[in-house]
Symmetry: none
Subunit: 414 residues, 2 copies
Amino acid sequence: MTAEIICVGTELLLGSILNKNAQFLAIELASLGIPHYYQTVVGDNPQRLKQVIKIASERSQVLIFTGGLGPTPDDLTTETLAEFFGVPLIEHPEIIADIARKYAQRGREMTPSNRKQALIPQGAEVLPNSAGTAPGIIWRVAGVTILTFPGVPSEMQRMWQETAVPYLKSLGFGKEIIYSRTLKFWGIAESALAERVSNFLNLQNPTVAPYASQGEVKLRISAKAESEAEAKQLIAPVEAELKQIGGLAYYGADDDTLAIVVGKLLLDAGETLSVAESCTGGGLGQMLTAVPGSSSYFLGGVISYDNSVKISLLGVEPKDLYELGAVSAKVAEQMATGVQTRLATTWGISITGIAGPDGGTATKPIGLVYIGMAEANGEVQSFEYRFGAMRERSLIRHLSACTALDHLRRKLLQ
Amino acid sequence: MTAEIICVGTELLLGSILNKNAQFLAIELASLGIPHYYQTVVGDNPQRLKQVIKIASERSQVLIFTGGLGPTPDDLTTETLAEFFGVPLIEHPEIIADIARKYAQRGREMTPSNRKQALIPQGAEVLPNSAGTAPGIIWRVAGVTILTFPGVPSEMQRMWQETAVPYLKSLGFGKEIIYSRTLKFWGIAESALAERVSNFLNLQNPTVAPYASQGEVKLRISAKAESEAEAKQLIAPVEAELKQIGGLAYYGADDDTLAIVVGKLLLDAGETLSVAESCTGGGLGQMLTAVPGSSSYFLGGVISYDNSVKISLLGVEPKDLYELGAVSAKVAEQMATGVQTRLATTWGISITGIAGPDGGTATKPIGLVYIGMAEANGEVQSFEYRFGAMRERSLIRHLSACTALDHLRRKLLQ
């Protein structure tokens, strides 16, 4: 038994809105253990919608529609379904009464066009909409089960939770669930990690799949089981092995970010951090302070975008700045030490680099970044990165901030 | 001639990621005047992918694929396409060389699995990927034109702009185009703006549609015409009227950001800026430095997350800090003056507030934010905002930084 998601709306084809409904339903179907293999987006066009219904009803048993339930003439999901399956539409007075009541509550009057929303295919049940006016339907017809929802995400989600989930569970779904855990890695290429874990990529239950984006590599472990507890049991040994293979490159799971993980390590050690940022311009501080409670270990820092600020607020030597340049190991080290001593923190982290698109030279290309790391005991280190001149400014800045956090993470783990 | 978007990736079916690629391509196809009626999402499964290729190639002439071009075994878009059309894969040594070069630039070694990415169907052209390793293809086969892109949005978008758009234009697309211009407003509610411009919302060509997200309100003006010049002529008078109605709340169009607009105003005036950030933790600096060339007017700032930093680096009075609290008008003003004088800039902007989820009280609720603005002549002002305790930490921080920029923008326009 497989499901299929069909999102109806010309606004999706024009790109006016992002298809968040498909993502919501995808997550929900997975958690109910209902496999779904296809998602289709189609416009407000009855011929094409019929074609999509035909294809979907031949390959899937549960068809979930979003959109096209409103009162305007281009809302035609319900009538097209009725027409496709050759079933007449029946007017439901209780729906009209419900819509009129809701309009009255908002101090408005129902318009004649709303009557359209009370037309339901013969034999279908009403899927009530407690958050809006347009009800959906639950309809078992010609061997398939059809559920329709309005396109407004808040209404759709509420109807899904209130009515569709209990209904699907009553049909026996939700007995077998899919539970996933995502392991996150930094400082390793996707292909390198995939090769190291290649024998896991053919597992059947749980499955293991690699993903990469913006310098981060993820391994998603998904288990099918009758309960979350059982799924976790299936995942646990695989997770442990993958973590071991990942070694220090593994930094966290699911909602963890490098900033969250570094924050926990600092908190556990009772240590504090400050930052000195040049090319990231505040991005590292922003990442750190995105974590609630970060004030316990993050004191602040200096955005030393201009050289004058590197000198005045961080005490960087003007001589080194002019002889070696702002993008150099020594300046990175002085920035780190400068902020660490001035803010009296355990750690001081600095970033100076060339984010582009201008400012690159043959010896100092775009993407060249130095990260400095100073400790309370006076020790200071720096690391050189070449993130690549073809990369975009925003990505170079993102990689710089994440890599700086990763250096501190690895150091704190030692 | 119609196009169809096919996004390949089990992560989309599991809901692990949001399908932003489909939206990007939808907008792009509209702007080229290429109708597209269907979007399909399918997992990393060759049988089902073949079924999707079959359906799509029977109803559309241009098939645009995203995802499944990576080096791992579950990346199988290219080989499945070759298999479906019965064409052998040819190894392209120049792709291998290019991948090896890119890995070397990043100080890494190419792995054997990357060789897979050099296999291209016979007769297909390489669609180069300047931002990543996985190239795509442009392939005219069996009456359809196929374009493939990696799933990573930044790479896909760059390849689309650099190669796919010129290619599609060479095929004669983009003759009747849809050209859009988006006007951006800050400091006005969507409903208020929509009411003021209500008589524009029923226009046919150009159309005007309002959108709102994260405090920003947009009006998109879209015209259909045979040329961009003609479309611009249709848009110009409507744009002029909408700008006038928006007044000072209108700040820019299309790719403009508040940071870009503020930067231009500062550059024109020959003035400079520094920032002192508490609850935004560097986010304002990051916004400002996201703009290439921002070093001409943005010198840097202080992330004074902890009170000690407000005192040591900004000269805030300890007495005021403890009596009035860090989140107060007076402290905001001292932070602004402190950074403006210490960094010797024309303007100093400060932000101090309670971003939540903890730290709110009855008198100082979550969402309370003070913005300070100091000038070189010694004048200083502050502004109180209550962004609402129900809002998320990240949104409160975003609204704070944008509102700070908007205050400076309005001041610079006076």
